[in-house]
C-alpha cells in the first residue's frame, strides 16, 4: 500500500514537472552598434595641403583605425563653390588623396582606405556660386 502511494506521488511529481514550460534561456544581449567615428579636416583656398591641425586630426583618425580590427576608412573630399565645378571635382579628389597618403604614412593599410571626391556637391553650408568658405573646403574621414 505504502509502495503504491510512493509510486503515485512519484508519477504526480513527474507529471507536474513535465507540465512546467522549460525555462527559456535569457536572450543574448543585443550586439553593440558597429563602432563608427568620423572627423573633418579643413583646407585653405585652392589647396590640398594638410596644415598642422589637419595633420594632427588625420593622425588621430589613423590611430583609431589601427586600433580597430578589420577597420575600413572612407575618405571624401569636398570644395567650396569658388572656381569651376570641374576644377573643384579634381581638387576635392586631390584633398582626399592627400588625406589617404597621410593615413597610410601613419600606418593604416592602403587597402583599407577608400577615397572619393564630391567637388561642390554636398556643401556643408549652402552658399551661392563663387563663394569662398572654409567650412566647405573639407575632407571627411569615417572609420568603422
Amino acid at each position: 500500500m505504502i509502495r503504491s502511494l510512493f509510486a503515485i506521488a512519484a508519477i504526480a511529481f513527474a507529471v507536474a514537472a513535465c507540465d512546467q514550460a522549460p525555462q527559456q534561456a535569457n536572450p543574448a544581449p543585443p550586439p553593440a552598434p558597429l563602432p563608427m567615428k568620423y572627423w573633418m579636416v579643413f583646407f585653405d583656398t585652392n589647396s590640398a595641403t594638410l596644415n598642422d591641425k589637419a595633420a594632427s586630426t588625420v593622425s588621430e583618425a589613423a590611430g583609431v583605425a589601427k586600433s580597430m580590427a578589420s577597420s575600413t576608412v572612407t575618405v571624401t573630399g569636398f570644395t567650396d563653390t569658388d572656381g569651376s565645378p570641374a576644377y573643384n571635382m579634381a581638387l576635392s579628389l586631390r584633398r582626399a588623396q592627400a588625406v589617404k597618403a597621410a593615413l597610410v604614412a601613419s600606418g593604416v593599410s592602403s587597402a583599407a582606405v577608400t577615397i572619393s571626391g564630391k567637388g561642390e556637391e554636398g556643401l556643408l553650408v549652402a552658399t551661392p556660386d563663387q563663394t569662398k568658405l572654409e567650412s566647405n573646403r573639407r575632407v571627411q574621414i569615417v572609420v568603422q
Binding site: P29, P30, Y38, W39, S56, E60
Partner: protein, 215 residues
C-alpha cells in the same frame, strides 16, 4: 509572473515617488535659477537589466536592459551599494554590485541644459554649469551631484527626427553626435541651428541614483 509583478511594483514606486515629491518640486524652478541646475523628476527612469561591467575608478557601470540595448551610467553617491565586490559590512545596506547581477535601476537619462549659438557669454555660462554640476529633483536635502558635460564646436548636421546635433570639435576635428535633446527649450534652439553655426551644448550625463540587486 514574478517579473511582471516587480515591474508593477516599480511602476507604482515610481509613481509614488513622483507624487510624493510633487509638492517639493513646486519650489524647485526658483532653486534652479538661483543655484545648481535641476534634473527634473519627469526624466527619471526605472528599468531592469544585467550588469555587464563596472568601472570603480569612475563609479561607472554598463547595464544590458532586459528588453533592448545597453546603457553606460555613472552611479551617483546615492548608490551606496556601488562598491564592486563589497559586502554588507563595507557598503552598509547591501552587498556590492557584481558583473552578472540582475538589478533594478532608478536612473536619469541625458538631459540638455543648454543649447545655444556660441558667444563669449554662452561659453562662460556653460563652463559655470559644468563646474557646478546638477542635482536631482526630489532630493531637496541632498547635494548629490549629477555631472554635466559640454560639447561645443561647429554644427555639421542637425537631425530633427532624432533631435540630435553633429558637432565638429574645433580642437580635434572629431565629429560627435550629441545625446537626444529633450527639453522644450533645447528643441526650440535646435530648430534655429543650421550647419556651419557655432554651437555650445551642456548635457547631464546618464546617472543611476538607486540600484537594487534582484538576483
Amino acid at each position: 509572473m514574478v517579473n511582471s509583478n516587480r515591474r508593477q511594483i516599480l511602476k507604482f514606486a515610481g509613481a509614488s515617488a513622483i507624487a510624493a515629491t510633487a509638492l517639493v518640486g513646486a519650489s524647485l524652478p526658483v532653486a534652479a535659477q538661483q543655484g545648481k541646475p535641476v534634473v527634473g523628476l519627469r526624466y527619471q527612469n526605472f528599468k531592469r537589466g544585467t550588469i555587464h561591467s563596472l568601472d570603480p575608478a569612475t563609479r561607472g557601470l554598463v547595464i544590458v536592459w532586459e528588453d533592448l540595448g545597453r546603457v553606460k551610467l555613472k552611479a551617483a553617491d546615492l548608490v551606496i551599494n556601488y562598491a564592486p565586490g563589497g559586502t554588507k559590512e563595507t557598503t552598509g545596506l547591501a552587498a556590492g554590485l557584481r558583473v552578472g547581477q540582475v538589478v533594478d535601476v532608478q536612473w536619469y537619462d541625458y538631459i540638455d541644459f543648454l543649447i545655444a549659438r556660441t558667444t563669449p557669454e554662452v561659453s562662460a555660462k556653460a563652463r559655470a554649469m559644468v563646474a557646478s554640476g546638477a542635482r536631482a529633483e526630489g532630493l531637496p536635502d541632498s547635494e548629490q551631484q549629477i555631472r554635466l558635460m559640454e560639447q561645443s564646436g561647429m554644427v555639421v548636421k542637425t537631425d530633427l527626427t532624432l533631435y540630435t546635433i553633429d558637432i565638429v570639435n574645433p580642437a580635434s576635428g572629431e565629429v560627435l553626435q550629441t545625446p537626444q535633446i529633450r527639453t522644450e527649450e533645447g528643441l526650440a534652439a535646435l530648430r534655429t541651428l543650421k550647419p556651419g553655426d557655432p554651437v555650445t551644448t551642456v548635457f547631464s550625463i546618464q546617472t543611476a541614483i538607486k540600484i537594487t540587486v534582484i538576483r
